[in-house]
Amino acid sequence: MFCVHCGTLQPPSADYYQFFGLKRGLALDAPELQRRFYELSRKLHPDRFTRKAAREQQYSLDATAILNDGYRALRDPLARAEYLLKQEGFDVGEQRGKDVPPELLEEVFELNMAIEELRHGGEDARGQLEEAYGRFLAMRDAIDKELDTLYRRFDDTRDRAVLQQVRSVLNRRRYVRNLVNEVEKELAPEGQPAQ
């Protein structure tokens, strides 16, 4: 990022992996990323460039923006996978559920029905919701384990078929996350008063 000869700041790379000097992969050494983030934050801080040329000052601003966006994207395993998938030319966050298994849709639908009942004060629904909440948390944990395995497999094999699987598991994960949030909102004591 800095010229090896004159030490001036060069235009920063917009590729997060390159920016942090990390190997492109789905599994990532989190403490190492954090270490580099702090180190780069110090080196690139715009305050250090106030007496430098205008061009270098601009690079430092650019670099700081990439630093923060990149850190946010890479430190979160889900955002990281989305970033890498996008780089590899996959459609990510596409708002159609083609990869969602029908059983999951059915389950999501039923749970939403239960949430609606609870909203209308049905106490029977509360037990159903609590049970569903536990089930969805367990589902989320299982998905995270599955992702972890897939991440390692991709890093080992660089097989695009694995990325395809990652993409579909991520879609599933989003649904489950939304459900967990939705149920938490309903179960919160400050929500609807018990009838």
Binding site: G97, V100, L105, R174, Y175, N178
Partner: protein, 138 residues
């Protein structure tokens, strides 16, 4: 973001909310979803087997106002159409009718997908337009 009056109208007074008996031979059920926004949409049609005309349509959608309005409008449009006419319904009609902004176009796409899924389910049940499948089933 402000919703158009038409979206608000369908959102506040959704048409045809409810369910049809999914085990009924005449009923086709489509269940679709958008994981990104957590939306799920169930749309059902009841077809007259003699005429192929959709006599009833119901929906239940969990999602944003635009998703609810899109599916509500879809059920209104479906009634009185034949199953083949129903397959011609494009999401752009819904977009125009509801004046959906670009960020909400996917809601209309979801409604179109739901129509297609419901009709496909009906056809599968009745093996319409797919004689090969009917033969295999026998």
């Amino acid at each position: 973001m402000a919703y158009s009056n038409k979206v608000l109208d369908h959102y506040n007074n959704p048409r045809n909310v409810g369910a049809l008996d999914r085990n009924d031979q005449q009923v086709g059920t489509g269940m679709v979803g958008a994981p990104e926004c957590g939306d799920v949409m169930k749309l059902q049609v009841k077809v007259n087997p003699e005429t192929g005309i959709i006599e009833d349509a119901k929906f239940k959608t969990f999602g944003c106002g635009s998703a609810i309005a899109s599916s509500s409008l879809a059920t209104e449009m479906l009634k009185g159409k034949t199953v083949d006419e129903a397959l011609e319904i494009k999401n752009t009609v819904i977009v125009n009718e509801l004046a959906l902004p670009p960020v909400k176009i996917h809601c209309s796409v979801l409604a179109e997908d739901a129509i297609k899924a419901a009709i496909a389910d009906y056809k599968k049940k009745n093996s319409v337009g797919n004689p090969a499948a009917a033969q295999v089933a026998q």
